[in-house]
């Protein structure tokens, strides 16, 4: 149980975030967003803005320098007159003060030739197509056996369509960049991101620089939830603004602008069919997903992918269809794929349990499998059943009356629900160095990102263990592209990927150490690329069980979660204290997904209407009453030197389904469209 090592710095305000770095002569940027949802920019009127005292520059498609193409069309800032979606950045102002920049941005007159935007996701949209792959490299469709026939013959059948809305990541710290060019043509970016190495490589490419000419500094990051996994246009607003003015430029994206420019989770429409025998053994599973991407760039959320590995069934099919709309490009948000997909699958499993008259935990146990159903690979470890059993015992599941809508406390209807959880145990190659200092301490460096997860603390524990020294002698430095190259803090793979490189570097250093350390210190480095290539083939996934106890006000349709319990099996837990925070954070976000979060697309104008935290609701403290996360011990030799699977995302997976299933148990009403709000629930009570 190790406290977060930088907690004192953070609570005293000493820890510096991107735009808090003091630099001489700083100027401020403000961005102008498109006020049409589709069209061409016919002119950019800058006269009024430039007349404002203190305005240094206005950048737009009429004067921006040419940028190189990257894999991400959202980064082609000011390179075209075409407006792809409302809210896209079309101009930026740099000024002496933030207030001047914002006022000048208001005065930039952009004229458009506009057309009505196409923004509505529908299951019958004529533009639906099959993508070649879904995020990151999964096939769009898979099939085994004859699912239609098997479903038609099944004794117990569930067929239902579930929808999830667009949701926004909304980290506490906005996307923010301080860009500073140097006389030698190099660029320093103090930036809020989930991976300094990736930002360095991408931004260098866009600006036509060598990666070595760009330094990205990000020791502290105030959250990301996936939205900072790749650089956003804000980095270029700052970098181009700084180049145009010869001044360091700060740009923190205002909360309202984040809703169009920093990513979100696609809305989904998911049709699921489950066919089982009378004992609940699945014979057919189909999961067909419809979701959106932008006209700029394809991003296909892998929503049906968890259905490929979750339960055994001989006949199965999954598919993803996308439509290109005049919307911002969707992107990663905590457990992309698993989060919306498992809401649908685990809701359907609950419906199947009700239809078959089988306890929902027992139903999941009966359909458990030791081999990944579609790939046939053995699981490196799979402790779903252990999580369900442990959770059931601690939650008091045995005493549960399965009948829906029969428990009352005054005017409140009470119910409980369960859902499975899963998330892949990814790893990517990483580098790291370990140094022995002459004073007896050790310095470990890796361009990892601590986005509030406790990564720095976990890596320090890992390094101390590998070096066989006490924690206080080890300093781990992260968040700087000058440090050894590291993969993104995403896909719940940070600790596993960086940690493996740290262990190997520390082992190398121990091999070099014999007695005293020379005055210049002693260093060893590691790169896990080859090690990962040589791994045995296993299906590697973490699992979990989510339990929810809800009350529903029969008069108002208000749903409150009285209690949540999550039990997970995620390999070795490096630091229980910060791990629990990660899991509880994920479960809390699951409460938001179940009951609150919904980005509302305006059909006429084509932008998200709720653009601040007063309108986009995330759970308040009062919504999180009693929440507990724990884990079963799991020792898996097929993972990495630490035996870790990753815990950043699994906490949200299944949480919304557990709550929705509990709402059904409380009321007898099955809400298949999230979030479960009074407007949706009350008319059906």
């Amino acid at each position: 149980m190790t406290d977060r090592l930088e907690s004192r710095e953070k609570v005293t305000g000493e820890a510096r975030y991107a735009v808090e770095y003091p630099v001489e002569g700083v100027a401020y940027a403000a961005a102008v967003q498109a006020t049409v949802g589709r069209g061409e920019i016919t002119s950019v009127g800058t006269e009024e803005a430039l007349r404002l005292p203190g305005v240094l520059a206005v950048l737009s498609c009429e004067n921006a320098p040419e940028l190189r193409e990257s894999g991400d069309a959202e980064l082609a800032l000011f390179q075209s007159r075409t407006v792809s979606y409302r809210g896209q950045f079309v101009a930026a102002v740099v000024a002496e003060t933030l207030d001047t920049a914002r006022e000048a941005a208001r005065l930039v007159r952009v004229e458009y030739a506009s057309e009505p935007p196409d923004v509505e996701l529908r299951a019958d949209h004529p533009g639906l197509y099959k993508p070649e792959k879904v995020n990151p490299v999964f096939p769009s469709d898979t099939a085994q056996g004859d699912a239609d026939e098997a479903f038609a013959k099944s004794a117990v059948r569930v067929e239902a369509t579930y929808t999830t809305p667009a949701e926004h990541n909304n980290p506490m710290e906005p996307h923010a960049t301080l860009a500073q060019w140097h006389d030698d043509g190099t660029l320093t970016l103090y930036d809020s991101n989930q991976g300094a190495s990736g930002v360095q490589k991408t931004i260098a490419g866009v600006l036509g620089l060598e990666p070595s000419q760009v330094r990205v500094v990000s020791p502290h990051v105030g959250g990301g939830f996936g939205s900072k996994g790749a650089p956003r246009p804000n980095v270029l607003v700052a970098a181009l603004g700084a180049r145009a003015t010869g001044r360091p430029v700060k740009f923190a994206v205002p909360r309202q602008q984040m809703f169009a420019t920093t990513g979100y989770r696609t809305p989904t429409i998911q049709r699921i069919r489950l066919g089982a025998d009378e004992d609940g053994h699945l014979d057919a599973i189909t999961h067909e997903v419809v979701e959106q991407t932008s006209v700029l760039q394809e991003f296909g959320e892998q929503t049906a992918v968890p259905t490929r590995m979750m339960y055994k069934a001989p006949h199965r099919r999954t598919s993803h269809r996308l439509v290109r709309l005049n919307v911002p490009t969707p992107s990663w948000m905590r457990a992309p794929g698993e989060t919306p997909g498992m809401f649908a699958l685990e809701s359907a499993m609950d419906e199947l349990a009700v239809a078959a008259g089988i306890d929902p935990i027992e139903l999941r146990v009966r359909n458990d499998t030791g081999h990944e159903p579609e790939s046939g690979l053995p699981f490196s470890s799979r402790n779903l059943v252990a999580c369900l059993r442990e959770g059931a015992a601690r939650f008091g599941w045995a005493a549960r009356d399965p009948r829906p809508g029969v428990r009352r406390m005054g005017r409140k209807l009470l119910g409980t629900g369960v859902a499975s959880s899963t998330y892949p145990a990814y790893m990517r190659p990483s580098e790291a160095t370990a140094r022995a200092e002459p004073d007896g301490t050790f310095t470990v460096r890796v361009a990892a990102a601590d986005i509030g997860t406790g990564a720095r603390t976990a890596l320090t524990l890992i390094a101390a263990e590998a070096l066989k020294v006490e924690l206080g002698r080890v300093r781990v430095e992260v968040g700087d592209s000058r440090f050894p190259k590291a993969p993104v803090a995403g896909g719940s793979m940070g600790t596993s990927s960086w940690g493996a490189a740290v262990v190997r570097a520390c082992e190398g250093l121990r091999g070099k150490l014999n007695g005293s350390v020379p005055p210049e210190g002693l260093e060893a480095s590691a790169d896990t690329t080859d090690e990962l290539k040589g791994r045995d083939r296993y299906a590697r996934h973490a699992f979990g069980a989510q339990f929810a106890d809800v009350e529903v006000d029969a008069d108002t349709g208000e749903v409150r979660v009285r209690r949540m319990l999550g039990i997970f099996a995620a390999g070795r837990i490096v630091n229980p204290k910060t791990a629990r925070s990660q899991l509880i954070g994920g479960m809390t976000m699951g409460i938001g997904m179940a009951l609150h979060e919904e980005s509302v697309m305006d059909a006429e104008f084509g932008d998200f209407l709720n653009r601040d935290l007063a309108q986009y609701h995330v759970p308040a403290c009062a919504d999180v009453r009693d929440i507990e996360a724990d884990w079963v011990e799991e020792s898996d030799p097929h993972l990495n030197p630490m035996g870790t699977k990753g815990i950043g995302e699994i906490g949200i997976v299944g949480a919304a389904a557990a709550i929705a299933n509990a709402v059904h148990h409380a009321t007898g009403v099955r809400v298949r469209d999230l979030p479960i709000t009074p407007p949706r629930l009350l008319p059906r009570l």
């Binding site: 008069d555 009951l595 007063a614 609701h617 308040a620 407007p679 009350l682």
Partner: protein, 324 residues
Amino acid sequence: MRPFAYERATSAEDALRRHAEGAAYLGGGTNLVDLMRLGVELPSRLVDVTHLPYDQIQLDPNGGLLIGAAVSNSDLAADRTVREGHPVLAQAVLAGASGQIRNVATVGGNLLQRTRCSYFQDAAKPCNKRNPGSGCPAIEGEHHNLAILGHSEACVATHPSDMAVALAALDASVHVRGHAGERVVPIEDFYRLPGDAPERDTTLEPGDLVTAVEVPPLGMPSRYRKVRERASFAFALVSIAVALRVDGGVVRDVRLALGGVAHKPWRARRAEEALRGNPVTEEFFLRAAEAELEAAEPLRDNAYKVTLARNLIVRTLAELGEGT
């Protein structure tokens, strides 16, 4: 943000003198400053009225209150005489915003906060309230939390205040200092329905300064109940302020106001009339609710509010009736 002058008023006369065209009075600023950042409000001058001597709550011998306009929401909700004599008011204030916001938000500012309709808050979109004559996209657009009563073809916005709903039920009146002197405006005449001039939330004239809110004695049990998607820090879907006096199983007196349903706090006089003198039973509560909501004209996506308001009226009356 557009540059603006900031001035601190030293007296009501001074405030009125400084309040020229394009000026706005500044209380806690929790709504006004947000709207300035969004470019929705563009005052050329802010006249800070928080230092005027309107920061006291006075209790008269009969139990009536005179609440200074500069009293903070937190101080109002924490005041013992308010909590004891007018619990519905304290509960309503506590149901709004967050502790931090209530600490700086003032009573005057709370009365005058603007609608949270998404279209109003986006300066790049049409809105008859913000830009008269530009149209109301909410009627065909997103309106699940907008009005079901008293709206017009020009505007379907709701008033966001919780406190004002309690004040409407309490027959409060607003003390206003204007260029023509002082006047006392009953709260029902203070707010207006949108009609064809939704740019005007109230009947205040330019330069009018709210100095106090007068609340007559209540002397009967009261309650505020707010329904919202999350448990805290959210505007009402529907809220209700009720005061009820029962004698011998019969309603002797009742006050009922709804929030989140109209351009103003909605005093439910038809329901009150249907209740007065009738037995304290769910049947009569339902009859009263239906009498009030007969006039409801829900929009495409907010018919649930009619059900919600009906249930809230019945339930809150029943709960209050049980205790008497």
